[in-house]
Symmetry: C2
Subunit: 311 residues, 2 copies
């Protein structure tokens, strides 16, 4: 499936993406494919990435400095790890034009709101965002124009945010194929703790536990991974810097949800120890229904085994 055809007129004059990894490069590709901006500007702190963006030809202009990148931009989207948001905001702050929108794609919103507010002037519209989409791959080559199609993009405008700014940003995400929702940063951080952050943490954790078992060799773990383990290795292959920053910046919600997860797991362990088969069966039946709902609303494939080829 492809995106809708390009618009007759761009939505935005100048769109700047800072940080050209999986998400940043997907925004550039989607905006280019749909003709959403008069000029697409890209900047990345890494010289190698800037060279790669030029080679991939996914922006109209690759800036050499943050100041140059945001000069005259109408919308600026920061696509850097959550822990780097403050430094980037500080670097661009003197150069952002009055009335511009500064947004981001970080997986944590409370900490990002604080980091942006600390540095950006009052005449700039801060409208943080988070497209709930991605793959386990990183870098400018990993992106693709349809990444946001049929996925949700969550905006967390601070209280009193300019409604016009919020709707311009919302229109941009819609035009890239996303469904847009608005919520508070606090609620976002709790929702994502359960739907994304804690799942990543337990995936990283089980892969680590497996690697450390003395009685089972690494080669056995790898050979017999089709029994379920390999499903966890996908998200445990995600970008380490991005995920370190997520956990350091969404500490409270992650620890709260982790506490509940561990409590539930210990109750299950007790049910196994005491051979309470009915408790296990009840949970295992209940969880099936949730997957059915995820498939029904088009957030998952119904193909067996995620549609992996069986050969």
């Amino acid at each position: 499936m492809v995106l809708d055809p390009p618009l007759a007129h761009p939505l935005i004059g100048r769109l700047t993406v800072i940080g050209v990894g999986l998400i940043g490069s997907s925004i550039l590709r989607a905006a280019r494919a749909r003709g959403l901006a008069g000029t697409l500007v890209a900047y990345d702190g890494s010289e190698a990435v800037r060279a790669r963006v030029l080679a991939l030809d996914i922006a109209d202009c690759v800036a050499e400095t943050p100041a140059q990148a945001v000069d005259g931009a109408d919308i600026i989207i920061l696509c850097v790890p959550v822990g780097a948001m403050g430094a980037v905001a500080q670097a661009i702050a003197p150069h952002v034009k009055a009335g511009a929108i500064v947004s981001d794609v970080g997986s944590v919103k409370g900490a990002v709101v604080s980091a942006l507010r600390a540095h950006l002037p009052a005449n700039v519209h801060i409208v943080p965002g988070h497209p709930v989409a991605g793959t386990e791959y990183s870098g400018p080559d990993a992106g693709f124009a349809t990444l946001f199609k049929n996925r949700w993009s969550i905006l967390t405008p601070p209280e009193g945010a300019d409604e016009g700014a919020v709707s311009r940003l919302s229109a941009l995400w819609s035009a890239m194929g996303a469904n847009v929702e608005t919520m508070t940063p606090e609620h976002h951080d709790l929702v994502l703790a359960i739907t994304s952050h804690v799942p990543h943490l337990i995936a990283y954790n089980i892969v680590g536990t497996a690697a450390d078992l003395e009685a089972v060799t690494q080669s056995e773990v790898i050979k017999y991974s089709a029994g379920g383990f390999r499903d966890f290795t996908r998200i445990a292959a995600s970008d380490p810097t991005m995920w370190r920053d997520v956990f350091l910046n969404n500490r409270e919600a992650v620890i709260e949800v982790l506490g509940r997860f561990t409590e539930d797991l210990i109750a299950l362990q007790r049910a196994i120890r005491w051979a309470e088969g009915d408790k296990l069966f009840d949970l295992f039946t209940r969880t099936r229904a949730i997957r059915r709902s995820i498939i029904e609303i088009g957030q998952e494939t119904a193909a067996p085994d995620f549609g992996r080829s069986h050969d």
Copy 2:
């Protein structure tokens, strides 16, 4: 990819499959596709399943009783939940011919060895097995002939098992496309605890924890599941009876591995609480390498997001 072409001569005279779910029906299909048995016999305790097997035409003969199913069979493979193995062994015991091989496909081996030994006569070869393959779907319609292709099938012959019997069963699995390994039931149960059983348990658990969070609605969990959560729902949609029996019958190894998992998780939680970013980064880097190895040996796809279509 497809299986190799049919053999000129069948490997086995009469092959009986008892329990025609995902695995049993895949064995029938693979054996039929490759011409591995002179006669393929199927039996299932459910009348509806027997009717479905007839309609699907995946066996030469659908028996009406366990006794009829095993009559004259050279190899009998029990494809029922682990908790049902004892009862099935008891039902077929008086009717199995001397020298026949009785095997199974249960995900736990120690408990199955005991259950089969308790009922089957000494003149029958007991060679338990476990193909490490499957999908989240169940029932006779879910099977397919290439399910075992490039997967490992583990045999756990008891000490003193007849070598000829082991190699005949091994040849059958190889002919269905599987790689065959032999190990003790105890080692199997520990290896599978980490590569399959505990991953399933924590997947079921996180889905349950998510469903129970009061502050996050079920519809939010479902909408934003593309952030990682949905990966877990696949194995948490697996057959509840089968998995209840796995946990009840591999209690010790599961509790041992779960203990390590929880210990590691609590250490990670502490690292988050104390903002020890380096510890998180180190683990998140180490786990990437394991996925690469799984992809390298062909046990996983390298396609982003398991190859799900992005539309």
